[in-house]
Amino acid sequence: MIEFKNVNFEYEKGTPVLTDISFKIEDGESVGLIGCNGAGKSTLMKVLLGLLPHEGEITVGDVKLAKDTLDEVRKTIGFILQDSDNQMFMPTVFEDMMFGPLNYGHTKEEAEARVDKVLEELGIGYLKNKYNHKISGGEKKMAAIATILTMHPRAILMDEPTSALDPENRRKIINTINGLKTTKLIASHDLDMILDTCERVILMHDGKIIKDGTADEILKDKALLEANHMELPLKLQG
């Protein structure tokens, strides 16, 4: 589904941010991307979406990421930003959810049918006509996920989906993530959430992949996590 082959990226010449990144994510997989601040997690996601240039080869489905395939790649992959205020730029949740499908050429009726279906699936129908600047952080995050789901992506990238949420909303988001049938790549410092949602984890440090393995294998390895400025998930700390 998603494949990186020897991908490199640098903001300034001589200061690499991503170095020789290679991995493959299969259809339907749920992968956690962990690492300390500045490890390159968000940059990797932006490179995958074509928001930043890169060296090397990135393939999404059967499509190789290039300037002329950006639309196709972005239609295949949805991205949920860390700050939902940056994602929800239309006045109402409804308008925001319609934005993607309408831009991709769907009729108003088709787009609205998608909106209603997604709202029902996520159980947030009551948010439909609410103003984005008047809903809570948790509601905003759910609505942000909904805006992406209306585009029917095959894969979803999430950048810190549980940051700044209270325990109840955090649990709601985790349950929502677990209910999504798409391929998922989730970047987060919330290792408990990664443990709850991902079967595979990629550990990054200084722009390089340090380890790629099962969630159990990596998240239970105290020495490995500490060597990379992280610590065991709370529920494994005993």
């Binding site: 239609k75 730029f89 239309m90 934005f99 309408l102 831009n103």
Partner: protein
Amino acid sequence: MDELAAGTSPVHKLHPLVKFLVTIAYIYCVVSFSKYDLTGLFIMLLFPVIMFSTAGIPISTCFWKLRLVLPLVLMVGIFNPIFEGKAGLISMVTLMMKGVFALMASFIMVATTPIDGLCAALRKMHIPSVLVTLLLLTYRYISVLVKEVAIMTDAYKLRAPGQNGIAPKAWGSFLGQLLLRSMDRANELYSSMQLRAFKGEFFYAAQRKLNVRDALFFFVCIAAFVLARLINITELIGGVFA
């Protein structure tokens, strides 16, 4: 304003484009009165009063929300009595009334029209997409900006005990920080738009077609404005009772 705009009165149900055009026509008509035509202008008060009462919005709400702008409007022509004597007093009152009437009409339009409807109407009027997008995003992000200013102000106050507000020497860095934050947010926001295939034009989902009621409202209002402009109705009514 969002709560006001979410009403269901007949005024709320009018097509945004019609409300926009009628408001423009009203303001044009009000402004075109001679500065000494106080009695002629007086009848124009009927339009905002009818609109407010039909919309179920108290006029006091308008004056309260515009309390910062109103003094500026009322200052227009304040020196006319000095330069023109008695006639100056009339022209001062006329100018003040023109300003207040125009504000009331604009307010009732904005208070009964959701922002997306207003933006769609502006696009229908061929107002450039960039300007309309700017209006839409300013509306959406003004609350976020205010929140950021509040956070920064609190952070400043907590480390500047005994100071009243922000010291002038900190204004530069304060505004600079705010600008940098806004730029970061703008970049993120634009990325989010790009990822959903934004090509420079918004689609306004909540649009509807014009109907007979919209057309009737438009033509009746325009006819009334023209009539009020051509005939001094106030004097005519006064004449009947004289």
